[in-house]
Point group: C2
């Protein structure tokens, strides 16, 4: 068997811990599938003392993630810190600059700086992979980049935010107002203390920006998304929708029209019950792709959660291990003039 692929992991939240756990518990299976062992060498997180339910003493601990990114004995840096700026950006930039492959789940970073980082990866001839950045365990990035590469995609439409989905489900199920449903979602761990990113639609806007750049090959920013969240929805809105036989979901959409113009939106929509997006519950995501050869392709699965997202993170690592992914620019987009 060939040399081990040496991994460093930055950020030990739910996804990071689940990734470490799988690397430990299924080492043989993963080595079989990779054609070489995956060897976690180093980890970094803010709090060294925190119990994450997974043994970390076999790995070098870095208090400074930038030192991990610079460690000369790593092949891949897995970035699970999050955030468009600051540490995450510095870690990814440093790792790529030093010729390391990067696997990241960071939608904010890619939606904002994907073009710059993609160009850097291409220049360095190293993979920059980010399946986990959109729709958790649903392989939407690979599907667009690889499986549908013979197609012209005209539209991507999806439910990409589990928090909003959970809140909207609760409002309908419990016949309650938005603030109550938000509180319940927070208590259940489905919504964060500061829920703005989710309920105001910033999160799905970032995700759809990434998908649209990949699908249409055009440079886009999250600011171009016509964005409306669910904060203003009332119990009455949900009730009225139900009376009309409809279901409200926060839908993200990217359309390229025949003249080449692109329209990006995130907004609550009243869906008929048979719409593939209408029946999604909790953290489930679905993406409907309209493509010229294949017609309509729908992917449905867990859009959040440590394990589901770790599935995507490790799939990317396996792609690196197999040299499975092109080292070309992952955002081969045209800059719009």
């Amino acid at each position: 068997m060939t040399q081990a692929l040496r991994l460093g992991l930055v950020g030990l939240g739910a996804v990071g811990a689940a990734t470490v756990r799988r690397l430990q518990e299924q080492a043989d299976l993963l080595a079989d599938r990779a054609g070489r062992p995956l060897q976690l060498v180093a980890v970094s997180a803010r709090d060294a003392g925190k119990n994450r339910g997974v043994a970390l003493d076999a790995y070098r601990w870095y208090a400074d993630p930038l030192e991990l990114a610079a460690a000369p004995d790593l092949d891949v840096v897995i970035e699970l810190i999050g955030g468009a700026e600051g540490t995450a950006r510095a870690v990814v930039t440093a790792a790529l600059t030093q010729g390391k492959a990067v696997v990241t789940a960071n939608k904010a970073l890619l939606a904002t700086h994907g073009l710059t980082l993609g160009a850097l990866a291409a220049q360095q001839q190293v993979p920059l992979l980010f399946e986990a950045a959109v729709a958790g365990g649903v392989p939407i990035i690979k599907t667009i980049r690889e499986a549908l590469a013979a197609n012209r995609i005209s539209q991507i439409r999806g439910v990409l935010n589990g928090t909003c989905n959970d809140i909207l489900s609760r409002m309908a199920r419990e016949d309650c107002d938005f603030p109550h449903a938000l509180q319940a979602a927070q208590a259940a761990g489905y919504a964060e203390a500061d829920p703005t990113q989710d309920i105001d639609g910033y999160d799905p806007a970032q995700k759809m920006t990434i998908l649209a750049m990949l699908a249409f090959g055009v440079a886009l920013t999250p600011e171009q998304v016509k964005r409306s969240g669910i904060r203003h929805l009332t119990r009455h809105d949900v009730l009225q929708a139900r009376r009309d036989g409809k279901i409200i979901r926060l839908v993200a959409c990217a359309t390229q029209h025949a003249d080449g113009t692109i329209h990006l939106s995130v907004a609550p929509e009243m869906l008929l019950p048979h719409d593939p997006l209408a029946q999604l519950q909790g953290p489930m995501n679905a993406v409907i792709i309209q493509a010229d050869l294949v017609g309509q392709l729908i992917l449905t699965g867990a859009g959040a959660g440590g394990d589901a997202t770790a599935s995507a993170v490790i799939a990317d690592v396996l792609d690196v291990a197999r040299q499975g992914s092109a080292c070309g620019n992952p955002f081969p987009v045209k800059l719009r003039t």
Copy 2:
């Protein structure tokens, strides 16, 4: 730009013609995405005179597909003849033996001789890719082999045969008996003159054998599938199902139990309307994968048709062009003792 990837294509039915058409009409787009031009060099089919709605005079014509497989200036042979034995098998074997990559849509060949051909490809260090062999344009092979490679899969369940789906839809819609619905499906071009492969479940049994080998890493044959078709279903059966609020679909299933035993089946099932397999119409396929990290992942899309299947064929060619697919054995299975 790097050297062109030189293609030879054998079999010019609906899928072959659609593949040639896309290579012609989107040459620039495909070259961009491949990182190099895709150059169709040679074609072969039984009838040189037949009008296939696509210009073929730019390509070398081979009356003998084995001569095409042996042509020294080809990098990839695309096999779209079909059938487990005879010409298709000989062409694929010859191409791999001579170090050429092979892209095929041939489910019968892979279900029966996949292990032998996979071992040959691994030995020759060339890719053998077959996304189009199962579920047409739905990227189920790539999803199992790559996107879910960090998971243990416990079950795959799907509607994999469009012909049966069309017949069952007709029986329900038109309240007619099986022979009438079959005739109508034949008249509409959805069923072949000899429909045995479809209506007796041989076709989905072959497809599920391939998926199960990939998911479970165990050698399997189509004969191990407990198979029952739809020939015996009556108008009364369909009517009774509807009275019970259910919908009949031909469901293929592969389950690996906790003790490692594998159960493969193809049989009509009475489904509740909200089952993701229940609402599929015509050539639509769906596959539900149960995996330990990701939970349930569902892929839904066109399982047949020239364009949709050509989408999968060309995606495989692009993977070859980008060196995107591992050259390892595509069937890294354990032989069962």
